[in-house]
Symmetry: C2
Subunit: 217 residues, 2 copies
């Protein structure tokens, strides 16, 4: 059993790392479903089958655990989105990305919303460190969208004067707002509609560009 470096700098054996991971995954699940505030440490202990001293051995307190959960979801979501968006360079690909998110959310009828969005809403005005981490994650996610749009632009599907990063912000806003409306309505429809409007806007920019290209040639 070799000791490695934990995220916070302390030494950690593989056994300890396993425990830590169990705590975080259990906490993440609970906090996603019940919310951060409604999740107690005892809940986490019961769900992970771990003793209190283990939890406090790995985390300074609930805030630290919440931050670990933020990081956990961050890695998960960014990984998923990197896989989904990393090589997309067509509007059809963007639509498939939309379909996957909508379908996934429809399995829960919109409940719980976006993991990052829900955490952000609950934590942003209470824990500044967590808020900053979430802001960075949103930025990173948005960068993936910007990448797609830039590839569209480079491929001539979008006119060069389009500000792709602002378009990505708009798309991200539509996505998060859609999650929230779907969560409240317990119905994915508003989420789908919201993203669709953003995509329709992007498509209209593309269509206008093609027309003008055709006129020029």
């Amino acid at each position: 059993m070799t000791t490695t470096e934990a995220p916070d700098g302390r030494r950690l054996t593989t056994r300890g790392a396993k425990t830590r991971a169990r705590i975080v995954t259990a906490a993440a699940e609970l906090m996603y479903v019940k919310g951060v505030g409604a999740t107690t440490l005892d809940d986490v202990l019961a769900a992970s089958g771990v003793s209190k001293s283990q939890l406090y051995h790995h985390f300074a307190g609930k805030d630290a655990l919440v931050r670990a959960v933020v990081a956990h979801f961050g890695e998960h979501v960014i990984q998923r989105e990197r896989d989904a968006l990393g090589h997309v360079s067509t509007i059809a690909g963007l639509r498939r990305w939309r379909d996957a998110l909508v379908q996934n959310n429809s399995l829960r009828h919109g409940a719980y919303g976006c993991a990052l969005g829900s955490l952000a809403s609950e934590v942003s005005d209470h824990d500044d460190l967590a808020r900053r981490a979430l802001a960075e994650l949103f930025t990173e996610w948005q960068k993936l969208l910007t990448g797609v749009l830039r590839r569209l632009q480079d491929g001539g599907a979008l006119p060069p004067e389009v500000a792709v990063d602002q378009l990505a912000t708009g798309l991200m806003g539509a996505l998060q707002g859609g999650y929230l409306l779907a969560q409240t309505a317990r119905d994915v429809t508003p989420m789908a509609t919201s993203i669709d409007m953003a995509l329709a806007h992007i498509e209209s920019l593309a269509a206008g560009h093609v027309e003008s290209q055709e006129r020029r040639s």
Copy 2:
């Protein structure tokens, strides 16, 4: 002092109504700033200068108080939006509406987000009654947006085939998503950008329509 009917059916003197209102406004302020979960009944008592028995005289428990807060913000927001949107029938008017929201949110650097959105995110998966109430409020808010878009359409600024209610959903999504991103970034910019994209889309539909009208004439 005459007795009147309270929202929940019990009789209420004007004195009692005043106390009830003080409790709700104090609770609303606290829950907006600190979040629902982080607001304790003692907080509310301290802020409103009311005794515990008074609170329990008017509300069955914390859940009931939360629902009253939802109704309170609902009335407030819907009133504000009715004033702001009720007679708007131009895109310029829609832009002024956007400016007011953005400016108002910039005073807090985006903190706390939208009152209804924050409540919805925190309460939707925990209190079904509150969730339904919030869903209805969002619907009502959206109807005001639909009204504006329909007036645009009736005035010929938008083509008749545009589905104004879906456009309103998209606008609402962009608004709520924008609030969330701004809250997380502590910066209004993403909110402004997000709404701007929705408005740009609406404008592009309008512009396309005008062009085709001009071609026809």
